[in-house]
């Protein structure tokens, strides 16, 4: 084989691998992803579908029940829209009323049932300009 032909083959193989990877990435990411919803968007949610709930924990709503937690999560910008949540599993250190969280789970009879160990609480920011509100 002459060298230029060889180079062309190499190029095609490399590009082919890149395209293959790109297609796989695009294809799997849309099916593997979970939609992020705020409480107000979950009110009419289909039961059984997995969502990722994002919002603010309502201050003073956190109750420990046995091994689990019960609290309400409200929209980030509208505290009047909120949904009750049950969750058990690890609770990250920064979790408390007023903090923003992300939690995977499903909606069952108007209650968001969190998946075990998926609770993510935003770190108190190093870069927020607002002071520590508690």
């Amino acid at each position: 084989m002459d060298p230029s032909r060889k180079r062309k083959i190499r190029l095609v193989v490399a590009l082919g691998a890149a395209v293959l990877l790109a297609v796989a990435l695009v294809y799997t990411s849309f099916s593997a992803s979970t939609e992020a919803k705020e409480p107000s968007q979950l009110l009419g949610a289909a039961p059984g579908t997995s969502y990722e709930l994002t919002g603010k924990v309502v201050k003073g709503s956190v109750r420990h029940e046995g091994e689990g937690l019960r609290f309400r999560v409200a929209d980030r910008d509208d505290a009047s829209q909120s949904i009750p949540v049950t969750y058990s599993g690890t609770v990250p250190d920064p979790f408390r009323g007023g903090r923003e969280i992300v939690l995977a789970g499903t909606v069952e009879r108007g209650v968001f049932v969190g998946e075990r160990d998926t609770l993510v609480t935003k770190c108190p920011s190093k870069f927020t300009t607002a002071s520590n509100d508690s």
Binding site: A18, A36, T90, V91, P92, D93, R96, F127, A130, S131
Partner: protein, 803 residues
Amino acid sequence: MTASLGSAALGLAFLTAIFAAVAALLGRDGKGRWVELSRRAVYGLFGLLTLCVILIEIAFAGDDFSLRIVQQHSSIETPIFYKLAAMWSSQEGSLLLWAWVLSIASSLALYATRSKLREIVPYATAVMAGIAATFTGMMLFAGGVNPFAALSPAPADGIGLNPLLQHPSMMIHPPMLYSGYVAFTIPFAFAVGALIARRLDAAWIRSTRRFALIAWAFLGLGLLLGARWSYTELGWGGYWAWDPVENAALMPWLMGTAFLHSIMVQEKRGMLKVWNACLIVATFSLALLGTFLVRSGVLQSIHAFGDSTVGPYILGLIAVVLVGSTALIVSRLDDLRSEKRIDSLASRESVFLVNNFLLVALTATIFWGTFFPLISELFTGEKASLAAPWFDRYTTPLAIGLVLFTGIGPLLAWRRVSWDAAKHVFFVPTIVAAAVGAGLALFTDAAGSLWALALFAFAAFALTGLAQEFWRGAAARRSLSGGSMPAALVAVVSRNRRRYGGYIVHAGVAVLLIGIAASSSFQTNRDVRLRPGESAVVDGRTVTYERPTVGVDRNAFTFGAVLGVEQGGKRFTLYPSRRFFRPTGVETGTIGSFFDGEATSEVGLKAGAGSDLWTAVQPEISRLRRRVRAADQGFRACVSGAPGTPPQCRAVSRLMRAAAVNPRLRPLALAQIDSLQAATAERLAKSYLADDVPATFRVIVDPLVTWIWIGGLIALAGALIAIWPARNARRGLAADTELEALKEAKYREIRDAELDHAAGKLSDGDFALLDAELRRDAVEILDRANGNGARAVAERTRPSEPV
């Protein structure tokens, strides 16, 4: 005073940066005076920003709450160590740190190239100074991020630093990451300079390679410290979560890794010029993107980002960098043609190409996953995100491929490898890898995860191959100059720092990936609920909740557990605990306020070479909190002097009423209340011990996780060896001019070839051809040096020293 002095210094720094950029551009066509002036201006910039940093640190150390930055991020009670580190926990302080580190790196780079790269330096200076001007300008003009913003009147105390951030490694971690991000500016600036000046040989790479390596090492150390902090401090037991902020730091690191490899191909073979230019542009843009992500609020992350005013500026800078560089590369395509072609697929340069492909694919995957919420919003209108399993699916095979090539690369010679040479170098590593793979599959349950098994076998291949390289290198050295084997090893490593430093980095990365594979595939993770006295068995270890502990101080309640562990006949005790902090910046409050602040986990960890036992506790405190609420109510009644309260209550309430009339009594009254409250808090906390309530424990048995940290440190040591200047440079015989640098590089190539030949990687015939060619090149360089009438380079040349 500090505020006005600092603002003046910062304003002057901004003007100096602009002057440096303009002067550098005026000096472009060999007008040495302007170039000299611009270099001095960059040194001046370093001086001014140093002054700013010192002023801020003095303000922090001296509790000068008239500065907003100090008031927001420190308090009188903050320990001095965290006061000094609090600067970069703020938005404005972190920008100042960015600009300051950039001025350090720029000054060093310009000093190192003061008599080299005359065509390139002016443009590179303009790029570096332009970026410095952008960052100092941001602090001055973006609004809300001036580190010298003053508060008037000055408050008596500050808010304090968040307790979660008060962790030793967390306080070194941000400066490490920044230094990494920032140091990539240097190779980027010189690449741009080389493109504009059309000086596209490897001279700019030789002068900035060390900066790229330093950036890479800093960024790597920053990532490692962040992972360690997450593992020991965050109470979830993991070290990596594919969080956007983590990804933001990992991406430039991976791209930088690709860059460090492929520039070697340009240095040695004059190939991949377009590719290298693209890589450094991508690396620098990703570094800027990392800086941007933390300040934008674009993506959901555990690290909450304040929306801030600087986001658009950084985004604008990224856009300028990307568009400008792309236009520049496209317009220089003709000058970027390769000087040579790849001779054979079985050569080190083609392995580097494969490794580049894997690293870029890895970066692209992480990029896609990180920004998927934005992508999906664009296409479907819904923000959807990708979780760790999606990342793992792609990154696992790519990482395994990388480990394999980590092992193959060092075994191959440049240009071509003959069949005999290949047999000679691959035989032992292949046998060892097969034996390790088979042994693990037969005698352990490693076969439960095929990916992990493949990784272990490939890592065994890589480590054996690297050990063989060290062995043969030392043996070759010894056959030439005698001495003992260890002495020969030291000698061969110190004479070929780049090569062996790189090998040590490879070994460290292989060890680190073994740790990641083992701990992620074979972890046992259980949550158990135990009463004092009860036990649970987790993966063969008996964990007994012996008794609860409690501690109270002014700032926090600490609920802990004494855990007795029996593991294979050995006993030890762990003390996990959970601390509830009072919100900072509150003068006095209720006892209940302890539960309104931050809570942090102190992990009970028994680290071991085989596996770690990791424990965290979640105390059951609902009963205690009911009592606290009742006590707070009683306390209010007490202070208000309600009938039926004990005598010391009446004394306090009288004092309070007096303080309402006479403000000078107020501190006394508050102190009274404080001590009463402290006594109550202590009594209440102690009552938790008597509750005899169960606590929830997370117990993790994490195999080989320690090797992640050890591997990371090995890699760092390797990077240090590679960065450390060669003996000549340390003696002040640094290659001052470009021609001398070129000569040094050629000598090194000759030594490399000799070493490869001695280690059996080059056949006799290939070596003879290569050596002759390299020596021809060297003679030509010497001729040029003498012909140019440069300093008598020939006097200082020496015949190439063996190995």
